[in-house]
C-alpha cells in the first residue's frame, strides 16, 4: 500500500521534485486564489494566463528565459484589460474576450515560426511538470514567500476590496492601488505556476482549490488553509495518476482539482438537503 502511494516519489527524484514544486505552487495559488474567488476576479486569472503565451513565445524568440516573457506578457495583459475597460463599459466583456483571443493567436503565430512549433506550443500550453528543475522549485518557493508576505501586509485592504471597493476607499485604503497590487500578485502566481500545469490549465489550479474552500470556510484564514489542502491533494493525486495511468502530468493535476471541486459542491448540496 505504502509503495503504491509513495513509491514513485521515493524512487524518482523527478517525481519528488514535481511534488515539491506542485506543493509550492498550491501555496501561492491558495493565497492568491482565495482573493480571486472572493472578489469574483476569476476572469482576470483566465486573462493573465492567456497573456503568458505570447510573452513566453517572444522571450524564446530572443533567447530570454521563459519566465521573463511570461511576466511581461501578463503585465501587458493587465494594461490591456485596464485600457479596454476604460474605453468601453458596455461591451467590455466582448472586448476583453477578443483580447484573450488576440493574445493567444499572437503567441501561436510567434511560436509557429520556430522549428519545434508543435512541441513548444504543447509544452507552454500544458506545462512540463515532470521536467521541473530545482531552480524552478526555488523560484516557486520565492514566489510563495513573496505572495504570502504581501497578503499578510495587505490583508485588511484586500478584505475590504472583496467586500466593497467603496468601503476600501472611505476606510483610507485607496481601492485602485490595492487592486493593482492584487493584480500583480495574480500575475506573479500565474507566471511561476504555468510551468507546472501550462497556461491553459493554470487558471484551474488558481481557482478550483479556492472555490472548493469557499464552499465551506467562512473566514479568509481558514479558506486559504483549505485551499492549500485541496491544491496539495490535487497535485499529489494528479502526479500519482500520471505515473500509474500514464497520463499527462499537468492535465491530471488540473483535472483532479476540478473533480474535487465538483465532488464537494455535490456533497454540500446533499448535506444541505439532508439537513432540511
Amino acid at each position: 500500500m505504502i509503495d503504491f502511494l509513495l513509491g514513485p516519489f521515493i524512487r524518482n527524484e523527478f517525481m519528488a521534485r514535481a511534488l515539491a514544486g506542485g506543493l509550492l505552487v498550491s501555496l501561492s495559488c491558495a493565497v492568491v486564489g482565495t482573493f480571486v474567488v472572493l472578489r469574483g476576479l476569476a476572469f482576470i486569472g483566465d486573462a493573465l494566463s492567456h497573456g503568458v503565451l505570447p510573452g513566453v513565445a517572444v522571450a524564446l524568440l530572443f533567447g530570454l528565459p521563459g519566465m521573463v516573457g511570461a511576466a511581461a506578457g501578463s503585465l501587458a495583459m493587465i494594461l490591456g484589460i485596464g485600457y479596454v475597460t476604460r474605453r468601453s463599459s458596455l461591451s467590455s466583456d466582448t472586448a476583453i474576450g477578443l483580447l484573450f483571443v488576440g493574445m493567444l493567436a499572437l503567441g501561436v503565430v510567434i511560436v509557429s515560426r520556430s522549428r519545434s512549433f508543435s512541441g513548444d506550443l504543447v509544452r507552454i500550453l500544458f506545462g512540463e511538470v515532470l521536467g521541473i528543475s530545482w531552480a524552478d522549485v526555488a523560484g516557486q518557493a520565492g514566489a510563495a514567500l513573496a505572495v504570502s508576505a504581501v497578503a499578510a501586509v495587505c490583508r485588511r485592504p484586500f478584505l475590504l476590496l472583496c467586500f466593497s471597493p467603496e468601503q476600501a476607499d472611505v476606510s483610507g485604503f485607496p481601492a485602485k492601488r490595492y487592486h493593482s497590487i492584487m493584480l500583480l500578485m495574480i500575475a506573479l502566481t500565474v507566471v511561476v505556476s504555468f510551468k507546472t500545469v501550462g497556461t491553459l490549465l493554470v487558471f484551474g489550479l488558481l481557482i478550483a482549490p479556492a472555490a472548493s474552500a469557499a464552499l465551506f470556510a467562512r473566514k479568509v484564514g481558514s479558506m486559504m488553509l483549505l485551499a492549500l489542502a485541496f491544491g496539495a491533494t490535487s497535485v499529489y493525486l494528479g502526479l500519482l495518476a500520471s505515473y500509474r495511468l500514464n497520463t499527462a502530468g499537468g492535465a491530471s493535476i488540473a483535472l483532479a482539482a476540478t473533480l474535487i471541486f465538483f465532488a464537494l459542491l455535490e456533497s454540500k448540496r446533499i448535506l444541505a438537503r439532508r439537513r432540511a
Binding site: 472572493l38 485588511r156 478584505l159 476607499d169 472611505v170 470556510a217 467562512r218
Partner: protein
C-alpha cells in the same frame, strides 16, 4: 481655513465623468446636526453623498469635510452606500464583515484592541445580529444583509455618518431600531447626512435639502417639507387638503434616471 463645521460646501458642483448633476450648492453642517437629502431616483442624492464621502471629486467649488479635503480622516467618517440586492455576496461571517468597520481606525498594521472588539460586539447586538453572527453573508436575506452593513457602519463610531437610504429593505421593527440607533449616535455628538425617500424620516432631521437635479429647497425640515416644494421635487401634480396631500398626476418628463 478651519471651521467648527463638519461639512462646508460653497458653489459645489458634483457629477460623474465631467458631467455635473448638481451645481452651485452652498451648505454646511455642524456637529450634532442631521441633514436629510430628499428626491426621486437620479436626483443627485447619491452623487452628493459620494462627493462628501470623497468617492467623487468635486467638479467645481469648494468642499471641506472635517476641516480638510474629503477622505482626510477616514476613521471619523462612516459611509453606507445604497443596498444592491444582486450585489456580490461573500461567504464570510457576519462578525468578520462588521469587524471590517474597525480597519479605518488602524490602517495596515495597527493592532485591533479590546475596544475594537467591544464596538463590534455592541453593533452586532444592537442590530439584533447576535444569533446569526457566525453565518455567512451569502446565506442571509436582503433585510439581514442590510442590517449587517448598518452594523458595520455603526461599529466605526464615526463623527460623521453618510447614509444612502439606510432603511430600504428593512421591515418595520428593523427600521425603528435603526432610527433609534442613529438618534443615539447623534445625541452622542455625531452628525448625519441621510438620503431618503421617506418624508417622515426627513422630518425627523434638523435640515432637509430637496433635490431634483437641482436644489429645489434647503432649510429647516419643518419649513422645507411643504406641499408645494415636495410636489416640485417629485414632479407630482396635486393639491393639499388640510393635512393630506392629494396626488392628481405626474408631471411629464420629470423622472430622471441616474
Amino acid at each position: 481655513m478651519s471651521s467648527p463645521n463638519l461639512i462646508e460646501a460653497r458653489g459645489l458642483s458634483a457629477g460623474y465623468g465631467g458631467e455635473s448633476i448638481l451645481s452651485g450648492l452652498d451648505f454646511s453642517l455642524r456637529p450634532g446636526q442631521t441633514l436629510a437629502l430628499v428626491g426621486a431616483n437620479g436626483s443627485g442624492k447619491t452623487t452628493l453623498l459620494k462627493a462628501i464621502a470623497g468617492l467623487l471629486p468635486p467638479l467645481a467649488g469648494e468642499l471641506q469635510v472635517l476641516g480638510a479635503a474629503p477622505l482626510g480622516s477616514p476613521s471619523r467618517v462612516a459611509y453606507l452606500g445604497q443596498f444592491h440586492p444582486s450585489g456580490f455576496a461573500l461567504p464570510l461571517r457576519v462578525a468578520e464583515i462588521v469587524r471590517m468597520g474597525r480597519f479605518s481606525a488602524h490602517g495596515l498594521f495597527g493592532k485591533l484592541k479590546k475596544e475594537d472588539d467591544e464596538a463590534v460586539r455592541e453593533a452586532i447586538a444592537e442590530l439584533g445580529l447576535a444569533d446569526i453572527a457566525d453565518m455567512p453573508l451569502n446565506a442571509l436575506s436582503g433585510g439581514q444583509r442590510q442590517r449587517v452593513f448598518i452594523a458595520q457602519a455603526l461599529a466605526r463610531r464615526a463623527e460623521l455618518l453618510l447614509l444612502d437610504e439606510p432603511e430600504a429593505n428593512l421591515d418595520g421593527t428593523a427600521r425603528a431600531t435603526t432610527r433609534r440607533l442613529f438618534d443615539e449616535a447623534v445625541s452622542r455628538g455625531a452628525s448625519a447626512v441621510i438620503a431618503t425617500h421617506d418624508i417622515e424620516a426627513a422630518a425627523a432631521c434638523d435640515y432637509t435639502m430637496l433635490l431634483a437635479r437641482r436644489l429645489v429647497a434647503y432649510g429647516a425640515s419643518a419649513e422645507v417639507l411643504r406641499t408645494e416644494a415636495l410636489l416640485d421635487t417629485f414632479g407630482l401634480v396635486g393639491r393639499a387638503e388640510g393635512d393630506k396631500l392629494v396626488v392628481l398626476g405626474r408631471e411629464h418628463g420629470h423622472d430622471c434616471h441616474e
